[in-house]
Subunit: 205 residues, 4 copies
C-alpha cells in the first residue's frame, strides 16, 4: 500500500464515506417524487381528475425509470465499496464527482419528462448517467491500480470493474448520439441497462 | 444457502441496504411536510389567519395519517430485516420497488388532500400503499423460500409474513374499490391499518 | 424486563431506530432553508438587492432560532437513547409521534416568519415544540417505568427526565397563551429554552 | 480529561453526532439541485430548448462549485472527527452552528447564481463559507485545548487545525471585501480553495 492510503481497519472513516454516499443517493432518489405535480383543477372541473391522472402516466414511467437507474448505480456503488480495504483522497474526490452527477438526476429526469420529444433533453439524461458511469469506471481503475481491493475480491472485482462500470458508461454515452436519431432508441438503451442479466448475476456471486 | 446469497456476517453490506432504506424512508416521511402550505394573505387581511389555519386542519390530518402509515411500514421493514441472516440480488430489487412506492407517498398524500372528495384520488392513495404491501409480502415469501431467516426467528417470521404483510396488502388494496363506494369508508380502512392490535402485539415479542 | 421488550444487545434493531430518527431530524432541520426565498428583482432594479437582503434578516433569525431548537431536541433525543438498554413497540410509536412534530417545524417556522405579528402563528410555533416536549416526557416516563434505562444511568436519567423534558414542555406550552399577550414575550421564552444553563450542564456529565 | 467530556469508547453517542452531521450535509448538498430549474417553454417554441439549456451553464457551474465546496468541508469534518477520542456539549453546540451555516449553502448558491453580477450576492456566498470556516477553526482549537485528540493524531492535528481550517476561513472571509472590487476575483478565491494542494496532501496521509 502506498503511504497515501488508510487501512480499512480505520473502519469509522471508511463507514462515513459510505454513509455520506448512501445519504446523498437516498435524498437524490427521493427528490424524484417532487417531479410529480398534483394536477390543479378548478373545483367546477374536479370530475376531470381521472383524465389528468391518466396524463401523469408518462411522468410516473419517467419516475420509475430514474428510480431504477439510480437504484442500479447504488447497488453497484454498494458492491464496489464492499470490496475495498483502503481509500485515499483521490477516491474521495472521484466519489464526490460521482455523487454530484447522481444528484443531478432529479433535474435531468424532470427535463426529460417535460420535453420527452426533444432529443436534447434525452441527450442530457443519457449524458448525466454516462458521466456517472465514467467516473465510476475511473474509481474502479484507481483502486485496482492502487491495490485497495481485498485479495479474495480481486477475481470478482477485476471483471466487475471491466464489465459493469464500462458497460453502463458505454450504453449511456452511446444513448446521447442515439437520442438525436430517435428518443425511443435512447429510452430502449436505458431500459436495457436495468434488465440486462449478465452484470446482475456477477453481483450476486 | 444457495450460492446466490451473502452471509449476514458480511455485516457492512447488509448494514448499507438497511441504512439506504432508512434514509429513503426518512426523507420520504419528511417531505410530507412540503404538502402543508403556509396560507398567503395580503397584509390588509392578516386577521383572517385563524380561519385559514382552521382550513388547514384536514391537510394536517392527512399529514398525520400518511406519517403514521409510512411509520408503520418502516416498523415492519425494520422488524423484517432484523430477522434476516442473508440477502440476494432479488431481495435488493424487491426492496428498491418497495422504496419506490413509499417515496410516492408524498405525491399520493398531496393528491388525496387536494381532492379529498374524488374517489380516484383516494384510490391512488390506497393503491400506493397496497402495492407496497404486496411487494413486502413478496419479500417475506422470497426470504422464507430461500432460507434467509434466522432459525430462531422462523416461528415468529412465518406467521409474521403471513399476517402483517398480507393483511396490510389486503386492507389497502380493498380500499381501492371501496373508495368508489365511499371515500370515508376507504379512510376508515386506512385508519384501521394503524390501530389494529394483532400484528402490533406480534411485533412486540 | 417485561416480555414485551428487546435487549439492547440486539444492537442492529436499536441502531436502526436511532438512525431513522437521526435521518428524519437531519432532513427536517435542513428543509428549514427552503423557507429562505431568494429575492426576485427585475434586472432594472438589481441594485436594490442590498435592501432586499436586509429585509431577509428576520427570516434568517427565524431560521437560526428554529435550527437551534430542533438541534436542542436532537441533543436531548441523543442523550435519551444513549441511556437505554431496551425498547418496545410503545416507545417506537411515541418516537414516531415525536418525529412527526419535529417534521412540522419547517412549516411552523415558515408560518411564524410570514406572520410574525400574528399571535396565532406564534402560538402554532410554540404548540409544535410544546407537544414535542410532552411526547418526549412521555417517552422518558415510559422507559423509567418499564426499566429500560441502564442502571448506572438511572441517577442521571431520573432528574434528566424530570428536568429537561418537563421544563421544555412547560416553557413551550406556556408560550402559547403568552403569544396572545405579546409575540415578543413568546419569542423570549423560546430563546430562553436554548440558553438556559441548568439542563445543559446536566447533559454534559 | 475534564469531567465535562465523554470517552470515545461510548462509541454510539459519538457515532450519532457524526451520523447526524453526515445526514445534514448530505441533504444540504443534494438540495443544491433544486436551484436548477427546468426551462419552461410553450409547446410552440420547444425547439429553442437548446438555447435555454445553454443559458443554464452558469447555473450548472455554480452547482458544481457549491457541491465541491460543501464536499470539501465534509472531507475536513470527516478527518477532524476521526481524530477525536472524546467530545463535550460545547463541541456539539459548535458543530450545530457549523451545520447551520452549511445548510445555508443552497440559499447562498441560488442567491449568487441569480445575481451573479451583484457584489452583495457574492459577498453573502463568501461570508457563509467563511463563517463555517471560523466555526470549524473554533472546533479545532476547542478540542486541542481540551485534549480530546488522539495522542498519535496530535502531530497531524495541530498543523491541520492551524492550516486548513484557518486558511479556508481566511480565503473565504477575504473574498467578502474582494467581491466589492470584482466578483470574478471572489470566484477565483473560492476556486483556489478547492484546488490548493497543500492541505489536500496533509489530509491524504
Amino acid at each position: 500500500l502506498s503511504g497515501n492510503s488508510r487501512t480499512a481497519s480505520e473502519a469509522t472513516g471508511f463507514g462515513r464515506i459510505v454513509a455520506f454516499s448512501d445519504g446523498v443517493m437516498a435524498v437524490a432518489i427521493t427528490l424524484l417524487v417532487l417531479n410529480l405535480d398534483v394536477p390543479d383543477l378548478p373545483s367546477s372541473r374536479e370530475g376531470e381528475l381521472d383524465d389528468k391522472l391518466f396524463d401523469l402516466l408518462p411522468s410516473l414511467a419517467a419516475y420509475a425509470l430514474a428510480f431504477a437507474l439510480i437504484g442500479r448505480y447504488w447497488v453497484i456503488h454498494h458492491r464496489f465499496f464492499e470490496s475495498l480495504r483502503a481509500f485515499d483522497v483521490t477516491l474521495m474526490g472521484l466519489n464526490l464527482m460521482f455523487l454530484a452527477l447522481i444528484v443531478l438526476m432529479p433535474f435531468s429526469t424532470e427535463l426529460f419528462d417535460r420535453y420527452s420529444d426533444e432529443p436534447m433533453a434525452a441527450a442530457a439524461f443519457g449524458a448525466t448517467l454516462g458521466l456517472a458511469g465514467l467516473v465510476h469506471l475511473a474509481m474502479v481503475r484507481h483502486v485496482l491500480r492502487k491495490g485497495f481491493v481485498h485479495q479474495h475480491e480481486r477475481r470478482v472485482s477485476e471483471p466487475f470493474g471491466g464489465a459493469i462500470a464500462l458497460s453502463l458508461a458505454v450504453v449511456f454515452l452511446l444513448s446521447v448520439p442515439a437520442a438525436f436519431l430517435s428518443v425511443w432508441l435512447a429510452q430502449l438503451m436505458w431500459i436495457s441497462a436495468i434488465v440486462v442479466r449478465y452484470p446482475l448475476r456477477r453481483l450476486g456471486r
